[in-house]
């Protein structure tokens, strides 16, 4: 982990690459730890880790050094969680939007200078999972409905469907 934190101090590398990791942990602590320890194989450590079925203990998420964990609040076991690297949270404005279900989480990342110093709007990342495979998705699942700030400038959104 020390290696990851050292790389985070390189601001040039920080802006040149923005890795995002998506995974299904199946509620397992072993899978969770295995995932986070395997980030050393990546050229750059991830800035965002979006997890489906995160492990938790009494509705409290597991934490990992260097990351902030976010999930829909209890009651109920969250189906989705987002882990944000401390360095990302220090440099950019990160706002988490929770939906009224435990299956959707939306992260709005805003930089006044624009991501990659480009004239861009906020990066929005939505992690969506459906426990009912036959239920059709509706427009309300689109991220623009979650964040009013993204409605006008829906320019950078990753939407993950996991059925």
């Amino acid at each position: 982990m020390e290696n990851l934190l050292t790389r985070f101090t390189d601001s040039q590398a920080f802006f040149q690459s923005f890795p995002i990791v998506l995974h299904n942990c199946s509620g397992s602590w072993g899978i969770f730890l295995s995932l986070f320890h395997s980030f050393t194989v990546l050229p750059y450590p991830p800035l965002i880790v979006a997890i489906q079925n995160p492990p938790s203990r009494r509705f409290v998420l597991l934490t990992f050094l260097g990351f902030i964990s976010l999930a829909p609040p209890p009651p109920g076991r969250s189906c989705v969680a987002i882990y944000i690297a401390h360095s990302l949270n220090l440099h950019l404005s990160c706002t988490t939007v929770f939906h009224d279900t435990l299956e959707i989480i939306y992260e709005d990342i805003f930089s006044p200078e624009g991501l990659f110093r480009s004239p861009t709007a906020p990066l929005g990342l939505s992690r969506y999972t459906s426990s009912q495979p036959t239920a059709p998705p509706t427009v309300q699942y689109l991220p623009k409905m979650f964040s009013p700030s993204c409605t006008l400038t829906l320019s950078q959104v990753i939407l993950t469907f996991t059925t």
């Binding site: 040149q16 690459s17 923005f18 890795p19 995002i20 990791v21 998506l22 995974h23 299904n24 942990c25 199946s26 397992s28 072993g30 899978i31 295995s34 995932l35 395997s38 980030f39 194989v41 990546l42 750059y44 991830p46 489906q52 624009g114 991501l115 990659f116 110093r117 480009s118 004239p119 861009t120 709007a121 990066l123 495979p133 036959t134 059709p136 998705p137 509706t138 427009v139 699942y141 689109l142 829906l154 320019s155 950078q156 959104v157 990753i158 939407l159 993950t160 469907f161 996991t162 059925t163």
Partner: protein, 159 residues
């Protein structure tokens, strides 16, 4: 769709079409690498599948450098997916106001209503500089809000 080797039944097409139509109408683009499976069940009878779909809208797509599964198995039946965003080689310059198309009649009306921020009679140099900055920003914002943006192409100059 992300699995070109799979033959879908009519029912499966109908179910998936609802998801994909919603996404593509937005419009979103599928980032998955075709043929790369994301779910491996540990029994021998279940087939490999692509359950994890990643979509990006058209504005983000140029920034998507890679969609890959380089992380070894973590014990989950799903494969960790790594998406890397990077600035594109040719980045469009920031939008600039098209001053030639500025509607001066509207600006003139707005300028009449414009008032500079209050400035104290005795101020320090720093306070005066801050007042000047705020006034300049407000005036510039007023002007640019009435000017349409230029239609830029990737080959446009940065100024």
């Amino acid at each position: 769709m992300a699995d070109p080797l799979r033959s879908l039944s009519h029912r499966e097409y109908t179910l998936s079409a609802q998801y994909l139509d919603t996404a593509f109408d937005a419009p979103y683009h599928l980032l998955n690498t075709l043929g790369v499976y994301t779910r491996f069940l540990f029994d021998t009878i279940s087939r490999l599948s692509v359950l994890d779909l990643t979509l990006a809208n058209s504005s983000l797509s140029p920034f998507v450098s890679s969609w890959d599964t380089p992380i070894p198995s973590t014990g989950s039946d799903h494969v960790p997916i790594v998406i890397t965003l990077q600035p594109p080689a040719i980045m469009p310059p920031p939008p600039t106001p098209h001053w030639a198309l500025l509607d001066w009649s509207l600006v003139k009306g707005a300028m009449i209503d414009f008032s500079f921020p209050l400035c104290l009679a005795r101020v320090s140099v720093n306070a005066l500089a801050r007042w000047f900055d705020i006034s300049s920003i407000q005036l510039t914002t007023l002007m640019t809000s009435h000017a349409p943006s230029r239609h830029l192409c990737p080959h446009s100059k940065l100024w």
